[in-house]
C-alpha cells in the first residue's frame, strides 16, 4: 500500500509541475493566481499522502494550516487585483 500511495503522490506531483506552466506563463495575473491555487491544492493532497506514507498521524495539522493559508492568500490577492487600477482611473 505504501508503494501505491507513493506512486499516486508522484503522479500528482508531476501534475502540479504541469500546472506550474500556467502560473509561470499565464498571460494575465489572474491566470497566475489560478495556477497557484491549483498547485496549492495538489500539494495539499500530497501533504496528506506523505502523512500516511510516513505513518506519522499528527502531521495532519500541517495539511490543515495549508488549506487555511491557501484560502487566505488566494482571496486576499484576488481582492487586491480587483482593486488594482482604480488610482489611475480616478
Amino acid at each position: 500500500m505504501d508503494n501505491f500511495l507513493t506512486v499516486i503522490a508522484i503522479i500528482i506531483g508531476l501534475n502540479a509541475a504541469i500546472c506550474l506552466y500556467r502560473a509561470v506563463v499565464g498571460p494575465t495575473t489572474q491566470d497566475r493566481l489560478l495556477g497557484v491555487n491549483i498547485v496549492g491544492t495538489k500539494t495539499l493532497v500530497v501533504v496528506v499522502l506523505v502523512t500516511f506514507i510516513l505513518a506519522e498521524n499528527f502531521f495532519l495539522d500541517v495539511a490543515f494550516v495549508y488549506a487555511l493559508l491557501l484560502f487566505v492568500v488566494t482571496v486576499a490577492v484576488a481582492r487586491y487585483l480587483e482593486a488594482e487600477g482604480w488610482k489611475e482611473a480616478a
Partner: protein, 111 residues
C-alpha cells in the same frame, strides 16, 4: 476486512488522480481565464476531496478520520470561494473574453 478497506481507498485515490489529470488538461488547453476557471476549480475540488476521503477510509476509525473530513469540508467551501474571487477580479479588470476565431459575430452572443 483490511484488504477491502485498502481496495476502496485505492479506488478512491485512482478516481481522484483521474480528475486531477482532467483538471490539468483543462487548465492547459482552455483559451482564457473564465474558461480555465471552469475545469480547474471543479475537477480539483472533486479530485482532492476523493483522495482525502480515500485516505479517511484507509485510516479507519480514529481522530485522523475526523480531521480529514473537516479538511475535505473546508476544501469544498474554500475552493469554490477562491474560484469566485478570481473570476470576479478578472471580470472587474475587463479581461477580454475569448471568441471563436473563424466566425466573428461581433455582438458577443453569437457562435
Amino acid at each position: 476486512m483490511s484488504a477491502a478497506r485498502d481496495i476502496v481507498a485505492g479506488a478512491l485515490c485512482c478516481i481522484g488522480t483521474f480528475f486531477f489529470l482532467v483538471g490539468t488538461t483543462g487548465l492547459l488547453r482552455m483559451p482564457d481565464v473564465f474558461t480555465r476557471l471552469h475545469p480547474s476549480t471543479k475537477c480539483d475540488t472533486l479530485g482532492a476531496c476523493s483522495v482525502i476521503v480515500g485516505m479517511a477510509v484507509y485510516s479507519g476509525w480514529s481522530w485522523e478520520l475526523c480531521k480529514l473530513v473537516v479538511i475535505a469540508c473546508f476544501l469544498l467551501l474554500s475552493s469554490a470561494t477562491c474560484g469566485h474571487a478570481i473570476g470576479r477580479s478578472a471580470l472587474r479588470r475587463n479581461i477580454p473574453y475569448w471568441r471563436r476565431q473563424g466566425k466573428e459575430t461581433g455582438d458577443g452572443n453569437g457562435a
